[in-house]
């Protein structure tokens, strides 16, 4: 009985552990840089709710699911294939073709505007 109770408690603890597609590095909401590992793209039409990101020279400096785009001197943004694949970022985000940095081509990333 005690073992069952402990197992149930452990299961509850595991289930309640939160996870997220975003992180302090890339994707978290923010108002200031202090809320991010490196940089906060402050809330605006381009970045609704604010967007934590990393500075980059090319996509090797970004997480695997992000690309380096030619904005703000080079920042990481999530790649996408269509608008629904940006839905996890909330309202205002859609899949857009923007200039990549370091590769000299267009890349599809999630952003507002």
């Amino acid at each position: 009985m005690r073992i069952a109770a402990l197992a149930a408690l452990a299961a509850a603890a595991t289930v309640s552990c939160q996870s997220s597609d975003v992180s302090r590095a890339v994707g978290a909401r923010c108002d200031t840089n202090a809320e991010c590992d490196i940089k906060c793209l402050q809330p605006s039409g381009d970045w609704p709710g604010g967007f934590c990101t990393l500075l980059c020279d090319d996509s090797s400096g970004c997480p695997t699911d992000a690309r380096c785009i030619d904005e703000e001197g080079g920042v990481c943004a999530f790649t996408c294939t269509d608008d629904p694949s940006c839905a996890f970022l909330g309202t205002g985000y859609s899949c857009k073709a923007v200039d990549s940095k370091g590769a000299g081509a267009k890349v599809m990333v999630c952003r507002g505007g």
């Binding site: 402990l6 408690l9 452990a10 509850a12 603890a13 309640s16 552990c17 939160q18 997220s20 597609d21 975003v22 992180s23 302090r24 994707g27 978290a28 909401r29 923010c30 809320e35 991010c36 590992d37 709710g49 934590c52 996890f88 970022l89 909330g90």
Partner: protein, 217 residues
């Protein structure tokens, strides 16, 4: 005659070494050395522990998410409850430090994802230690369980909480001298904590491995 004298000396020496224990039978009441040995009950717990003791432990704790981990320092106060059980009061400190690991997700929910050895905690716990086995010579295995209350702090994120963990542990106590012993034990903590920054109730799940020394009072 000489065997009788040796038996008497043996009994007197034992009575002196463990003065807190009930007096052993005298040689006058037990005519032969064989009878003295047979009448001595096998101990249920380390005979050197006494009815009170103190101890200190040092080790490592692992947590993660929002359970602190890092260097663990603990002080123990032991008080005998029965032949095999001791109250084990603990004051423990965990020093993990760390970098910011909390953020707001896209739903504006505040989340923390700290590493295994981050965060700080001050905790007091009331536990019971139960020794196993009888008539052991030097090494005494034990189980320990109880409840604690602690203050958890992640300074780099400004996150503070009140944690109430259940503790379950096991270890071995090695008697070194009549008043000193070494211990090594593992402890699992499982519970919950209430935190600020809209985190609310969060699970607490951690593991600690410590080693230390105990003294008889």
């Amino acid at each position: 005659m000489s065997r009788r004298l040796i038996a008497t000396a043996l009994v007197l020496a034992t009575s002196t070494a463990f003065a807190d224990e009930p007096a052993a039978p005298t040689a006058a009441a037990t005519p032969t050395p064989t009878a003295v040995v047979a009448a001595t009950p096998a101990p249920d717990a380390p005979p050197d522990l006494g009815d009170q003791g103190i101890g200190a432990e040092l080790g490592a704790a692992t947590g993660g998410h929002i359970t602190p981990g890092g260097l663990r320092i603990a002080g123990h106060y032991l008080y005998q409850l029965s032949s095999q059980d001791w109250f084990d009061g603990i004051a423990a400190f965990t020093f993990g430090g760390g970098t910011p690991a909390c953020f707001r997700d896209r739903m504006d929910v505040y989340l923390c994802d700290h590493g295994l050895a981050q965060g700080d905690e001050i905790e007091i716990a009331a536990t019971v230690r139960h020794f196993f086995g009888q008539n052991r010579d030097q090494f005494w295995p034990f189980l320990r369980g109880g409840l604690g209350i602690g203050i958890v702090r992640y300074a780099s994120d400004g996150v503070t909480g009140l944690a109430i963990p259940f503790h379950a542990g096991a270890g071995i106590r090695a008697s070194i001298t009549p008043s000193l012993a070494l211990t090594i034990e593992g402890d699992v903590q499982l519970g919950f904590g209430a935190f600020n920054h809209t985190l609310g109730l969060e699970p607490q799940l951690g593991l600690a491995l410590t080693a230390g020394v105990e003294f008889k009072l």
